[in-house]
């Protein structure tokens, strides 16, 4: 009897503790506190800016975090979980004290979230532009879908853009259309590797003299895996090739104003920016 009561007491204490922990990770204790936002800015700069850029505007590896529209959710609880536990299959490591990332305490994570709220861009509606027309262009005249997939439809040569609206600001997307080589998109991310593969252009000449041009899916010192514009996957051992060259000029055409007017670009960006919100 005693034993049972002690057990029940024990379980209740554990439950209480679990509830306390859970609620501690659901609600931001510092919400709206400008002092904590400043502390969070410093934490962000130190721990997050390497990937997410100064001011949370996005960096080479990490998405823009100033948008309220986030691929992995934007509630306090979702943000806490993302920072604390990371996102499997992406470059985002678990950053809580028990993880392998930067090792932030719960308090520090909440400071960062408070900071992110303070820089969140408050938009009163969708970005300017006609998203419906943008969609038509994307799958039609502008032929974006020749290379890019959105929600399961389109080509495979370029990155899938389903999540791009939750990861990149509209200005970034527009710049990537006008200047595709400025920042190459990141491709494959391997769990233990420090840097992801980028959409580099590769040209090889095989032993029998055939030239193949494509985008690198992956590469190491000894081998390369690439896809050509007709979506064929090629895999080569470099020492069996007659030549191997790679460069950082994107294989995506430069969509200047002669190919795509500013208005049409705005429509396409409006379409893409509306994609990728957590359902």
């Amino acid at each position: 009897m005693l034993c049972t009561r002690a057990k029940i007491a024990g379980w209740s204490a554990l439950l209480l503790l679990m509830t306390a922990t859970l609620s501690a990770q659901n609600k931001n204790p510092y919400a709206g506190n400008p002092k904590m936002a400043i502390a969070g800015a410093s934490q962000f700069r130190i721990n997050c800016a390497f990937c997410h850029g100064l001011g949370a505007h996005g960096g080479g590896r990490g998405p823009d975090l100033t948008s309220a529209h986030k691929r992995h959710g934007n509630s306090d609880a979702e943000l806490f979980q993302t920072i604390n536990l990371g996102i499997p299959g992406t470059a985002m490591p678990p950053n809580g004290t028990t993880g392998q990332g930067v090792g932030m305490t719960d308090e520090e994570i909440w400071e960062v979230i408070t900071y992110l709220r303070s820089v969140e861009v408050k938009t009163s509606g969708p970005p300017p532009g006609n998203a419906a027309h943008g969609k038509e262009l994307f799958f039609g005249d502008a032929n974006c879908s020749g290379c890019h997939m959105v929600e399961g439809k389109g080509g495979r040569f370029g990155p899938d853009l389903t999540g791009v609206g939750g990861a990149r600001a509209p200005e970034y997307i527009a710049d990537s259309v006008r200047n595709p080589s400025r920042r190459l998109a990141k491709g494959l991310f391997e769990a233990t590797k420090e840097f992801p593969q980028e959409y580099e252009s590769v040209t090889v000449t095989t032993a029998d003299g055939k030239e193949i041009k494509g985008v690198a899916l992956n590469e190491d010192h000894f081998s390369v895996q690439l896809m050509d514009a007709s979506e064929h996957i090629y895999m080569f051992e470099k020492d069996k090739l007659r030549s191997f060259e790679k460069n950082r000029m994107s294989l995506m055409p430069v969509y200047d104003t002669s190919l795509l007017s500013d208005k049409d670009l705005q429509d396409i960006v409006a379409f893409l920016a509306g994609l990728g919100e957590k359902q």
């Binding site: 130190i46 080479g60 004290t97 392998q100 233990t192």
Partner: protein, 533 residues
């Protein structure tokens, strides 16, 4: 060819002689055995293979002629996430390694089958800056020694893994931790502390191997009244950093420990800590019995770029010259007089923009244009340095020093931050420039006599792998893409590689059992061994 064959006969004799020891159970690992480690090439008795820090194996069964036929012998899976940084030790057929979260394992070095496993129950609030990592154990007598992430020092029974003693070095809640493999010298277990990102006051400690009693502590930031204290502004010394998180080397003849230290805190922000900030980014020569400072040589004074000097100091003897060489994170390859600590040469071994010219002590001088600002400035090398903590190797046969390097430039900025006990205290932030060149890496072979690079083997992205050289005229290294690679030590030509499936954050080592040579590397979450078919 003849020379090679003779060496092999000699090797077989050595292995047979020592095998009789292992047949009777592992013999005690004495200090003398570690001093004379080259006489038992089948074993790997200390982190860098010998006290001189060479990471060179006298084994030559695997060599340039047969390396192409290497095959996997066994794989041990830790099932632990995070970076797997261990260099295992091997004593008479038993392999001792460590994994993330202070796991320790003893394996049958012939088969990979565990003999015992230990994992420390760590508190939930430890604060290791850069992963819950560990780089290995020390062995002495019948015990293996571990430094823990919660700043304890432990002795485990080498036959069972039972805890023999467990002492607290310092309060982990203030940001201290141990990640390095301890060094066993005489009857002392020596280790340096991590925590340069938490405003600690760094130190090197020595513990009695039998009892765990602390015999001495050398603070890497001098206190009031001690020489060097004047190199700190106001009270900045109290949180001055200068951790000592890589295993030092030891010279039996002089009884000196050569121990390198890391960045002053906060790392990129010099405001508030005017002065040279001794002994940050310094090579210390300490008396092994007392911890007393014999000489020091600081590589980067008043550092604002996190130029940790936590790279293995490697002893090199050239004729009658006693030298010590270090490929430093700041991008310079240093050669020092081992007797005095005087810098004899400092040559860049990667792209360097932070320094120009040298001061009277031979130290590269920082340029104003590279000083971090709130907006940030582009500096080469980047956030991780030209090299970092990954072990180099010195091969006396080629006379070359081999080290993993990275070509990466980053924007360095200051991020003013108040000190709060136990919390991150960086004062800095790094990020890649929008138009930055892609990062890449290379294994480089440096001639210590000239500082010139003899050859390089390029990696598509920077590697964190250490390097091993062997009497088989081979150099082994790994890469971020998961390859483990054997190269010709003379030319840098790749002779063999194996895809492990996980990035390498560790250094290779070699050992032999039953007259068969094995080469081991930790990659991904597993320890791999290779040998001839």
């Amino acid at each position: 060819m003849r020379e090679l064959r003779l060496r092999r006969v000699h090797l077989v004799l050595v292995i047979l002689a020592s095998f009789s020891l292992s047949a009777n159970g592992a013999a005690q690992v004495t200090f003398e055995r570690i001093v004379n480690s080259s006489k038992e090439p089948q074993n790997w008795l200390t982190y860098s293979g010998n006290y001189a820090g060479h990471r060179f194996s006298p084994l030559d069964q695997v060599n340039t002629e047969n390396a192409h036929s290497l095959v996997a012998k066994w794989v041990y899976q830790t099932a632990a996430g995070g970076k797997f940084e261990t260099t295992p030790l091997v004593v008479d057929g038993i392999l001792y390694g460590t994994g993330p979260d202070n796991r320790v394992f003893a394996l049958d070095a012939r088969t990979g089958r565990p003999i015992w496993l230990y994992q420390r129950q760590l508190p939930g609030d430890i604060r290791p800056c850069c992963g819950r990592v560990n780089r290995g154990v020390a062995i002495l007598g019948d015990k293996v020694f571990l430094g823990t992430l919660d700043s304890h020092v432990m002795a485990l029974d080498a036959k069972t893994g039972n805890v023999i003693w467990d002492v607290t070095s310092v309060d982990y809640k203030l940001g201290y931790s141990f990640t390095l493999a301890p060094l066993a010298v005489k009857n002392l277990i020596i280790l340096g502390v991590s925590g340069g990102e938490y405003g600690i006051r760094g130190f090197v400690d020595a513990y009695d191997a039998d009892t765990g009693e602390r015999k001495w502590r050398f603070y890497t930031v001098p206190g009031p009244g001690e020489p060097g204290h004047e190199s700190w502004e106001g009270d900045s010394w109290k949180i001055g950093g200068a951790p000592a998180w890589i295993t030092g080397t030891y010279e039996p003849a002089s009884n000196l420990l050569f121990w390198p230290t890391g960045n002053p805190s906060p790392s990129n922000r010099g405001a508030g800590r005017a002065g040279d900030n001794l002994y940050s980014n310094t090579l210390l020569a300490l008396d092994a019995d007392t911890g007393k400072l014999k000489w020091y040589s600081q590589f980067t004074g008043h550092d604002e770029h996190d130029w940790d000097a936590t790279q293995i100091p490697v002893m090199i003897d050239q004729g009658d010259k006693s030298l010590i060489a270090q490929a430093n994170r700041n991008g310079f390859f240093y050669v020092l007089d081992r007797k005095t600590g005087k810098i004899l040469s400092a040559d860049p071994f990667g792209k360097v923009t932070w320094a120009k010219g040298k001061d009277v002590q031979g130290r590269p001088l920082a340029v104003k244009e590279a000083q971090p600002t709130p907006e940030g400035r582009m500096v080469c090398p980047g956030a991780a340095g030209t090299t970092n903590w990954e072990s180099p190797t010195f091969d006396s046969q080629t006379g070359l020093f081999y080290v993993t390097t990275r070509e990466q430039c980053d924007i360095f900025s200051t991020a003013p931050q108040p000190y709060e006990a136990g919390h991150g205290f960086y004062g800095s932030a790094y990020f890649p420039a929008d138009d930055t060149e892609p990062y890449w890496g290379a294994l480089r072979a440096i001639d210590p006599a000239s500082g010139k690079i003899k050859w390089e083997f390029q990696h598509p992205s920077p590697s964190w792998s250490g390097v091993l050289s062997t009497a088989g005229h081979l150099v082994f290294t790994g890469d971020a893409e998961g390859n483990f690679i054997a190269l010709d030590a003379a030319s840098g030509k790749a002779l063999w590689h194996f895809q492990t499936g996980g990035a390498v954050y560790a250094a290779p080592m070699a050992y032999a059992v039953d007259g068969k040579e094995y080469v081991a590397i930790a990659a991904g979450e597993s320890l791999y061994t290779f040998g001839l078919p």
